[in-house]
């Protein structure tokens, strides 16, 4: 473990995680809205927002999958020190990190069981561009309709079609975050 | 002019102050020390540790004092305290075969290796009030002492097991689910059931076990062995690379030998019931092993006869006295909003019925 692995966590975990959770809750409860998520400095290629989301939600009881270029010794070391989360394959993960391309095929991730739809993965997807534009969203949490710049629309539509099964997504870009729960329906304009 | 009742905050503060005063009682009587409770009300301390799921006699004594001797309230205090404690790690399973024995009896064999050790038991006392204790008591006659045998005392069940007369209980390496860290999921496996009933309410478990003896899911239990004593608790220290003993706990273990199963292809064998409880908690350990055995009907290919003690969902959902007492007593809280809704509904239904009745009367009169 490198000394870098020991830095970049929350300075005041109870307060920072509370504030971070409220942003993530707002993002998940209002798909299409974009929120700031700061307070930690994870090693690249993890974004600040992805690092904060992990610190807020993951711990030794949640297996994490590092996809593609995310799986570096620095990221592994940082996760081991700050989260203690076990690293696993895509099929067993509670949380998975990577770019949309890294995470393919997303059909590998847990979508819950018909009697326990909550036992599903949350994908923390790194995107280069996160704006309230593009595909049209509607469903719970959205008054009328919203828009969000999203990758992989056919796969996300297929995911929504499985409701109440499906994975849920957090999209991170630098210090910003938006979310897409499985309940959101997507329409290409 | 009506003014709505206010001052909930002051009422609560006053109630708490009065409670503290009542707890202390007559100031002319010396205050109880935790040491007195721990040493002289040890069976209460044991029950609070067992159902509170926290082995700490001093904290249990404090809880009993604070709860004015209400053991369910004391158990609740302990549970609420333990839930905030960080989980630093898990111990190795304790080895009851290595127990330093205070008491060990078998009802199935007259004599056996290791012997019958009666220990400090109420069993053969005559239940006559001892007024010498009321008269500020005198120091009891010291008990006779004997040198404990350094040899481990083998389990009775092992003797039956060697001859294949009882169902095998293979050792597994699996980590059992943790009832305090994951929501109860049904159906449960045996490990989870045992976790739930070892901290279950003693009275509830006693009555369930008694009901099996009276025919509601009968399992013909014999006490194969009941042992009470202390065992070492060992944890792995990753930095050292080996495990060390961090202390010892007093446990009561009960293993029952129950009615046999068998089939055309399988020779008949006795079956097992198991109980393990913190402290000297004999009644609870025996009840636990009877209820454990009754809950195993499915894996042993028996019929579900509809007995409460066989019904896993019924037993596990209702055995916890902290849950039960909270929900039972919450009906003391105001419910006037729901009551008002019911009141209005009832008035409307009565109004409709009366109107219909008077219409019918009017029609009949025409």
């Amino acid at each position: 473990m490198t000394p870098a692995a020991l830095t970049g966590g929350f300075a005041d975990a109870p307060l920072q995680s509370a504030q971070a959770f409220r942003s993530i809750l707002q993002a998940m409860a209002r798909p299409g809205t974009i929120h700031d998520l700061t307070g930690a400095l994870p090693p690249p290629p993890l974004s600040v927002a992805a690092g904060v989301a992990l610190l807020t939600l993951a711990d030794p009881s949640t297996p994490v999958h590092l996809a593609g270029a995310t799986d570096t010794p620095a990221v592994r070391g940082w996760l081991a020190f700050h989260l203690g989360a076990p690293l696993v394959g895509a099929e067993e993960a509670d949380f998975a990190l990577g770019t949309w391309a890294d995470l393919q095929p997303v059909s590998r991730f847990r979508i819950g069981q018909p009697d326990y739809p909550d036992r599903s993965a949350t994908l923390i997807v790194a995107v280069d561009h996160l704006e309230p534009e593009g595909v049209r969203l509607c469903g719970p949490g959205i008054r009328g309709a919203a828009q969000l710049s999203l990758p992989g629309i056919p796969a996300l539509q297929a995911n929504a079609a499985m409701f109440p099964l499906g994975f849920d997504c957090l999209f991170t870009c630098g210090t910003r975050i938006a979310a897409l729960p499985r309940s959101t329906r997507l329409e290409v304009l | 002019m009506y003014v709505a009742v206010k001052g909930g905050e002051r009422a609560i503060d006053n109630a708490h102050a009065w409670l503290a005063e009542e707890r202390r009682g007559d100031l002319a009587v010396a205050e109880l020390t935790l040491g007195q409770i721990r040493e002289q009300l040890r069976l209460s301390v044991n029950r609070v540790m067992a159902e509170g799921s926290l082995y700490d006699p001093d904290l249990a004594a404090l809880a009993i004092k604070q709860a004015r001797g209400d053991l369910i309230e004391a158990i609740f205090l302990i549970r609420a305290y333990r839930t905030t404690l960080p989980r630093l790690g898990g111990s190795w399973p304790v080895d009851t075969a290595e127990m330093a024995i205070d008491r060990r009896i078998s009802a199935t064999f007259k004599d056996l290796p290791g012997g019958q050790i009666l220990g400090p038991t109420f069993d053969y006392t005559h239940r006559l009030l001892d007024f010498r204790l009321a008269a500020d008591g005198e120091a009891p006659v010291p008990a006779a002492t004997a040198t404990p045998s350094p040899d481990a005392v083998p389990h009775v069940m092992g003797l039956l097991d060697r001859d294949g007369l009882i169902e095998p209980a293979p050792v597994t390496d699996g980590t059992p689910r943790d009832l305090t860290r994951a929501p109860l999921e049904l159906p449960a496996d045996r490990a989870l059931r045992l976790q739930a009933i070892t901290r279950a309410d003693e009275g509830f478990l006693l009555s369930l076990a008694y009901s099996t003896q009276r025919g509601y899911g009968r399992t013909h239990a014999f006490v194969g062995e009941l042992r009470i004593g202390t065992v070492a608790v060992e944890v792995d220290i990753p930095e050292l690379g080996f495990s060390v003993a961090i202390g010892e706990v007093e446990l009561t273990e009960c293993e029952t030998v129950n009615q046999f199963t068998g089939s055309a292809t399988q020779p008949p064998q006795f079956t097992r019931g198991y109980g393990l409880v913190f402290g000297q908690s004999e009644r609870k350990a025996i009840a636990m092993s009877l209820v454990d055995r009754a809950l195993r009907w499915q894996e042993l290919g028996e019929d579900f006869v509809g007995a409460p003690a066989q019904d896993e969902e019924f037993v596990l959902s209702h055995c916890d006295n902290v849950q039960a007492t909270g929900f039972l007593e919450h009906i003391k809280l105001p419910h006037y909003v729901d009551f008002q809704a019911e009141l209005e509904l009832l008035r409307r239904l009565r109004h409709d019925t009366q109107r219909m009745a008077s219409q019918q009367n009017a029609e009949a009169a025409e």
Binding site: - | T84, T180, L186, Y336, V337, A341
Partner: protein, 292 residues
């Protein structure tokens, strides 16, 4: 002043993470009850432990917390829970619905419309809407999986056959986004219409039963009914005797032993605010400093 012997908002961080994960899954599947490893809290089960855990997982230091029981801020259990969070989280508290960012409630939805800046946390005793029709969790879980809600309709219809009305006046079951049947907690059915299309986030916590469920903002929530017996939210026959409001939910107060009674808003903040604005009911008096 915060009690430094405990972590912020009482719970340890690992417990809060567990709760937060459950809340997010509950948001993602509206109306579905997510199992969670409920902790023993320093108040008894059945006294709001689920709501307290959900509130503890959501609270931020800059929140302004309101706690109500039966619509009132000064009922003893509401006072007790509010004090708990003042002590363990050091958050500001308020009785004003409009000023609150987090509202924990038992048995009511405030009369004042909620906003996008608010979270409403419900205390739930029995989260399973099918529980009194089928006591077994293993069975009700299957019924939700298969959307087998016929039993609930049969029960409601039997009411109509016997009484001419659906005889459920509180904890009236709803269907969420056309999928899960949900228990809205024991709110009077008067409050049911406020569940739907609500700008605030609504979270439901059942501590003893170990379940969390949620309604994201603007979720479509429909009270179960029949074409020939549509759902009707109950409506009081009276105006509030203190503030004169004609559309609020009223408590009936017995004022003497001769059958005399009066009706007052169950939502104490709503009533106070109206009286401060000069509204006076049948038995009310103008607000003065000493009454306030």
């Amino acid at each position: 002043m915060t009690d430094t012997a405990y972590n912020f908002a009482y719970l340890d961080e690992q417990t809060k993470r567990m709760l937060r994960r459950a809340i997010l899954k509950a948001i993602a599947v509206p109306g579905y009850q997510v199992p969670f490893a409920s902790r023993e809290m320093p108040m008894p089960y059945g006294w709001g432990t689920g709501g307290v855990q959900v509130t503890a997982a959501c609270l931020c230091p800059d929140d302004r917390l309101k706690v109500i029981d039966q619509g009132a801020d000064d009922t003893t259990n509401a006072v007790s829970i509010r004090k708990f969070f003042q002590r363990t989280a050091g958050v500001a508290t308020t009785e004003r619905t409009a000023e609150a960012t987090v509202i924990q409630t038992r048995h009511r939805i405030p009369e004042a419309p909620l906003t996008e800046d608010q979270i409403l946390v419900y205390q739930v005793p029995i989260p399973e809407p099918l529980r009194f029709l089928e006591p077994r969790e293993t069975e009700t879980r299957k019924m939700h999986e298969l959307e087998e809600y016929g039993l609930m309709h049969v029960k409601l219809y039997e009411d109509i056959a016997r009484h001419g009305h659906i005889a459920t006046s509180y904890a009236y079951p709803v269907k969420v986004e056309g999928r899960y049947v949900m228990d809205p907690s024991p709110i009077p059915k008067f409050d049911n219409p406020k569940l739907s299309d609500c700008p605030a986030i609504q979270l439901f916590g059942a501590g003893r039963e170990q379940r969390i469920y949620a309604l994201p903002p603007y979720t479509q929530v429909v009270s179960l009914d029949f074409e020939d017996h549509p759902f009707v939210a109950s409506r009081a026959q009276h105006d509030c005797d203190l503030c004169g409001a004609d559309g609020s939910y009223l408590d009936e107060v017995i004022i003497d032993d001769l059958g005399g009674r009066m009706f007052v808003c169950s939502d104490t903040d709503f009533c106070t605010t109206r009286r401060e604005l000069g509204h006076i009911g049948r038995l009310g008096a103008p607000m003065t400093d000493e009454v306030a």
